[in-house]
């Protein structure tokens, strides 16, 4: 199956849980779809066997020698990328080419630009694909689509039964790009007012795209009243709570050493994660 791990709010534990999925479920290919802040590869040593650069966006480039300063480009640009001197700001330009059409002097052309780098490889947790956006680059949604494709190819070649996607925070472009063909989602949240607020919105996205979803509550003991509030929200919404992970100061310490909580018998968080994937396997008949 193809399983996505999302949260709405950032920093709730998506990446740690996705990595744990690869330890707890059989034959998993991991795909890091958070190309803005790709972190999955930091958890293990990755033996990279293929990499490449993806040029997913374009930018308009003006030839000053040909420009007659008529201003048509500035008039048609909806992204305020052309200033009073008709200089095009590459960070505002969306590469749509409206200025190219509008220019009567053929002074503007579209040039493709590198968006980010992708890789596929193997780790102690199995096959892994990921990508990283270059600093200041846009088109993260397109890069997510590319890395998912690489992940699918890798899963096929490695004979994986499951693909687990570590998603981006938020509900916008990179998140929506990661949802295509996902069969089920784990939504990870924490018992904070932001955690609940953001869960409601990401659940809205999951429902909008009709993807069945499960809930995991991380750092559950941080605020018992809010944890209860989130559990009753889940019950009202028919969202199955797969399990609660207690706050565990061992988690960052293990991460620094490159170890996984699920392999540490003394980690309460690790124990809880194992329980969560056992429950998921039962629910999904894996």
């Amino acid at each position: 199956m193809k399983l996505g791990v999302l949260s709405g709010k950032g920093g709730t534990g998506k990446t740690s849980l996705a990595a744990a999925a690869a330890r707890c479920l059989p034959n998993v290919t991991l795909v890091d779809c958070d190309v803005d802040a790709a972190n999955l590869h930091l958890l293990f040593d990755v033996d990279v066997n293929s990499r490449g650069t993806f040029s997913g966006s374009q930018e308009a480039v003006r030839d000053e020698a040909l420009c007659v300063s008529c201003g048509r480009c500035r008039e048609v640009c909806r992204f305020h990328a052309v200033n009073e001197q008709f200089v095009i700001d590459p960070y505002l330009c969306e590469g749509c080419g409206a200025c190219v059409t509008a220019c009567h002097a053929d002074a503007i052309t579209l040039r493709s630009r590198a968006t980010g780098d992708w890789y596929t490889g193997h780790s102690a947790c199995g096959p892994l694909a990921g990508a990283e956006l270059l600093p200041g680059e846009e088109a993260s949604g397109k890069l997510v689509t590319v890395v998912k494709q690489k992940g699918d190819e890798l899963a096929e070649a490695s004979g994986s039964t499951h693909v687990v996607l570590d998603g981006a925070p938020g509900i916008g472009c990179p998140v929506i790009a990661s949802l295509n063909d996902v069969e089920a989602l784990i939504l990870v949240t924490e018992p904070t007012v932001s955690g609940l607020h953001d869960l409601e919105r990401i659940l809205g996205v999951a429902r909008h795209f009709r993807i069945r979803s499960y809930l995991v509550l991380n750092k559950a003991d941080l605020s018992p009243p809010l944890a209860e509030g989130i559990a009753s929200f889940a019950a009202r919404e028919g969202l199955l709570l797969l399990g609660e992970i207690p706050y565990d100061p061992l988690v960052p310490r293990l991460m620094v050493r490159g170890a996984s909580p699920v392999d540490d018998a003394t980690s309460p968080a690790g124990l809880a994660m194992r329980g969560i994937f056992e429950r998921l396997a039962t629910e999904e008949g894996l």
Partner: protein, 281 residues
């Protein structure tokens, strides 16, 4: 002066830092807080603003007059986002892919395309604790966050200090937030994830020519790699917030930690003073 609070990694404490700075700086200056994380806005949960104005934000979607359309394919060829597909007797439009640039209408040789607004979300403005507050809310199922960030930044008059609470990541909405700032405060934590994403956020600040300073949150939970990186880069760590379950519990309940912890409030006053003095100098 515009201060962007950004991070790369999510959940490092951007909203805690942005709201704390707005609270302490509003004691002495005219401050506006803009929560630019339009996908998951959270600052209002802590500041509880009274919203008095709501403005929908739209993109323009093409509408094809099939009676006039000759199905020549010029629009689909011109569209860089693959949002149009021209079939023999029909044009398909993929709304989520459309950026609303209007190029299809520009190239149509028979004028068969006009545009009509499609709502992406709402910009809401009001007052929180006596200072102007604004945030945006992207509609669920919409992909394009950037137009809301731009609309939000134009929604309120400029005050002495504007605090911009940035979305996580380094993509378009983060760039749209940071590019109009004078200084970036990068909030991170001492873990491998925190370090990796700090580098990405510092990279964005660098390409935007924005001076960057670091706030090290949850100091003590991991290792010293962030400090070593900041030393070498060099990036100055202007504040350290030790890990404290009390801070986490206050945050959980939607209480700005500076309201309950006098020492933390003093530390934010120092940070605010330092930023304003350096900004003025």
């Amino acid at each position: 002066m515009r201060i962007a609070v950004a991070s790369g990694k999510g959940g490092t404490g951007k909203t805690t830092v942005a709201t704390a700075l707005a609270i302490v700086l509003s004691e002495r200056y005219r401050v506006t807080l803009l929560d630019c994380d339009v996908e998951e806005p959270n600052a209002h949960l802590f500041l509880r603003p009274e919203i008095d104005h709501r403005e929908p934000v739209s993109k323009l979607l093409p509408v094809i007059d099939e009676a006039m359309c000759t199905h020549c394919g010029a629009c689909a060829e011109a569209c860089q986002f693959h949002a149009l597909a021209v079939l023999r007797d029909h044009v398909l439009r993929y709304d989520a892919l459309c950026h609303g640039c209007g190029r299809c209408a520009l190239v149509c040789p028979v004028g068969a395309i006009h545009e009509q607004p499609h709502e992406l979300g709402t910009v809401e403005t009001g007052t929180a604790r006596g200072f102007p507050f604004g945030h945006g809310r992207l509609n669920v199922g919409e992909a394009m966050a950037t137009p809301l960030v731009h609309a939000l930044q134009a929604a309120l008059p400029e005050t002495e200090i504007t605090i911009l609470d940035a979305p996580p990541g380094t993509g378009c909405p983060t760039i749209a937030t940071m590019r109009c700032a004078d200084v970036a405060l990068l909030v991170t934590e001492p873990t491998p994830f925190g370090l990796h994403d700090l580098k990405a956020a510092a990279g964005v600040a660098e390409v935007l020519n924005l001076p960057a300073k670091v706030v090290l949150n949850r100091d003590g939970i991991g290792d010293d790699a962030v400090e070593r990186y900041c030393d070498e880069h060099p990036l100055s760590i202007v504040m350290r917030i030790p890990f404290d379950r009390q801070v986490a519990a206050l945050y959980a309940d939607g209480i700005p930690p500076v309201d309950a912890l006098p020492d933390l409030r003093l530390a934010f006053r120092d940070l605010g003073r330092q930023l304003v003095e350096e900004g003025a100098g």
